[in-house]
Subunit: 476 residues, 2 copies
């Protein structure tokens, strides 16, 4: 038996035509899991697309597209004249929304979801705050600063969150982190140490967040989602001690948690002793009605509030916050201290000044107007060019969910769009096992100039049009 | 049996008069270990100084001073009219050199070791680099940046380390962290995952670093130190897979690793497959002879080079670097990515500009002159006021080691000095089990104006003079 044959056998890939997921997706998921789990070690070779297709009894297009997708995600290295090889997992890009295209490929439209418009970053106002911070920094503030973050920044954040989001925010309950995913990583670690290892995630939800908490010892458990948000019966059945939810604008579906579900979710936490981790990642951008206050304000001892400057200012700011129940402050500060992750003093002082001056509120207000126009332009263009595709999740945030008739169409659309430099994300790549909702393409509008949106949608519509007929025909 | 008696019994403190360590130190170490290990839970009460002294058959001064020291370190809460209670460990200050004095206490002289002079932080030059960074930042640099750190910063750091420290620094082998202790935490975690869990530490060495690696799954193993530096026979006997050393200026002893030991240390790494973690924390400040190049330059595949801007610019900068052997780059980047610890893009760009303009070199050169003068003033004052105490470790760094006749004197001097606002550190608080070197007080001169040094030393000398005679008499 040649090494290659042995490799193929070892893959233990099972394709099941009865499953609702496409063959390519099944293959891709199983290979990805095998690489993540270490069952396929870094450096090991995979069979050629032809050999694997023969072995599995599928077309070569299925194996080829699976390999291309895994290569785009960083799991595989495709080599000229040689079989694909498994890359070192450390190279896998875990940053949310890092570009999936190869260096040098031309990007026509970057429609990836929840990318903010960093070109609108208020450079002058921020520089002014840095200048103020540098001029006023005391010796203590330039020295070894505490792991919880500077007090004056925590005071300003508490003030902002109280007035803008209805958060019950005591500065002593706030910790400064590098962002929401970092906060979640710290919470996951602390919960693991406390013996609570099942963390519920909405299905679908951002796959990167699940990777982050897995690395910190948690087991992500899927919980069903419907048009009112997370389903509490499913949550109760999950047996989780904590649950990550995004009540204001769920990612990726864009669903807003209904008033009744909010009540039930808090009840779940209060009766079961569970902890709700409220990801408020883009709630500052809400367009059609008054913002709904944060869940945390209803039950501060059972909800952790998570926010950051990543979407509101720029991802590279790396400043975020968690508002914690009293009992979690010490464990989280200890995680930060023992990991020696203190964040830059000058940046903390500058952000405090930026908040204090009202620059943050002004910037958000300006961006809300810009994003609303882009959102409206996107909805108009979708109505014109893709009138048959339902559009969801547009009340807030930085992306729309454009539903597609099947997982096969979704897959074909995303692959084709990416290959010609129209960057979009598929919804089902964020799905956990058991997902039975619609397939969709996620269309972000954060960084796209208003004038470019119609053309971008037109291109996308062409791709959808080309992808649909043959696949629809095949299904029929 | 009253709860208090039970508490005392549970302490299992054993005082052994045959040991070379003072009774107070023995008591303090055992209580500290019991708190750290969780054997003494947060909130539990300790007996009064009187009750504990009776039970152990020691003077009340011994128990009282042990409690005061543990309170200063954050382990105990001393309460008016009630017994001392164990504080939550998360509140224990793990930041190196965080002030041990209570808020409100007046600091006369801050002589803690390796505090830099943050009043000399080049605010204008740094602001200029932030302005340049903000003006030139691309969309990608304001977006989601990679966990390894920005390429242009790694290029500048490689250039600096190559010319200033003889480091074989390939930008692709550099990762950006929040500082040396953070780098060490990441390395400890990666080594733990790779199955290597014994990490050698020089005895003495900074206790905070040992706490950090313990939290990341490592077992610190003490290795003996003599006047030539780390003892290789002791290192070989330790059975460690990695060893943290500071060849240029060991903390806290100030010893410089001899040429022969450098050779033997590299030989240990190459023959045993061990990894040397080179802590180059203050090597930029070397006064009397040409700087010795970094160990890493001799064997880049067996030595990790660790540095930061903490001492050279300001602790609150929170930017450091590790130069890694090829095989460790992926694991360390993965630790950063999976923990979602990316560092601020603007700061990284600003530091790249600061290095590129030569501002970093200019600042170091300016500080070297300032610190040399302070060092000379300190040595002069010590010769005048404490002529009987040998002074060591003054060739580099930001502190001197002033030897004292016994651990009892060291203990009395540090307690008294701190109580009147003269902040010093004891050497033996950094000792691991088996330490048999001299007792000493560590006298830092980083932030102390030259003109204030004679008065500070005079005060210290008075304290030493008062501490010595009775204790000497008691010993004789």
């Amino acid at each position: 038996m040649s090494p290659r044959q042995r490799q193929t056998r070892d893959l233990l890939v099972h394709i099941d035509r009865a499953l609702p997921r496409s063959l390519r997706r099944q293959l891709e998921d199983q290979l990805r899991d095998a690489i993540r789990s270490g069952a396929l070690a870094p450096g090991s070779e995979l069979p050629s697309t032809r050999a694997l297709a023969q072995e599995l009894g599928v077309s070569r297009g299925v194996t080829g597209r699976a390999y291309v997708q895994l290569a785009a995600e960083g799991y595989l290295e495709l080599r000229q004249g040689a079989n694909p090889a498994v890359r070192n997992l450390a190279r896998v890009q875990l940053a949310p929304d890092a570009a999936p295209v190869r260096a040098g490929a031309r990007v026509r439209y970057d429609l990836r979801p929840h990318l903010p418009d960093v070109n609108s970053f208020p450079r002058q106002a921020w520089l002014r705050s840095v200048r103020t911070a540098l001029a006023g920094a005391t010796s203590a503030e330039l020295g070894y600063i505490g792991a919880q973050g500077l007090q004056q920044l925590r005071v300003e954040i508490a003030g902002y969150l109280g007035r803008a989001r209805g958060v019950a925010a005591d500065p002593d309950r706030i910790v400064i982190t590098t962002g929401t995913a970092h906060s979640l990583s710290l919470l996951a670690r602390a919960l693991t140490h406390l013996g609570a290892q099942r963390m519920a995630f909405e299905n679908p939800s951002h796959f990167v967040l699940r990777e982050v908490v897995k690395h910190a010892g948690q087991t992500p458990v899927p919980v069903a989602l419907d048009s009112e948000g997370v389903r509490i019966d499913s949550l109760r059945a999950a047996g989780a001690q904590s649950a990550v939810v995004a009540p204001a604008h769920q990612f990726p579906t864009g669903v807003v948690l209904s008033a009744e579900r909010r009540r039930l979710l808090i009840e779940w936490a209060q009766t079961s002793g569970g902890l709700v981790l409220e990801d408020d990642y883009d709630a500052a951008f809400r367009y059609d009605r008054a913002p709904i206050g944060a869940l945390q304000g209803l039950s501060p001892e059972h909800v952790v509030y998570l926010g950051s400057t990543g979407k509101s200012l720029a991802p590279a700011m790396r400043l975020g916050w968690a508002v914690l129940p009293a009992r979690l402050v010490d464990p989280i500060v200890y995680e930060l201290a023992a990991g020696m992750i203190q964040l830059p003093g000058i940046d903390q002082l500058a952000l405090a000044d930026f908040l204090h001056r009202g620059e943050f509120d002004r910037h958000l207000s300006r961006m809300r107007t810009i994003y609303r126009r882009r959102r409206d332009a996107l909805v108009d263009a979708l109505e014109t060019w893709l009138p048959d595709c339902p559009v969801r999740g547009i009340a807030a945030g930085l992306h729309a969910v454009v539903e597609l008739p099947s997982a096969d169409v979704e897959e074909a659309v995303c692959a084709r769009a990416t290959s010609i430099g129209v960057l979009v994300q598929s919804l089902t790549q964020h799905a956990l096992p058991g997902y039975d909702g619609p397939a969709a393409v996620l269309v972000g509008y954060g960084p796209v100039p208003e004038a470019a949106i119609p053309r971008a949608v037109q291109q996308l519509a062409e791709i959808v049009g080309n992808a649909r007929p043959p696949l629809m025909a095949r299904a029929g």
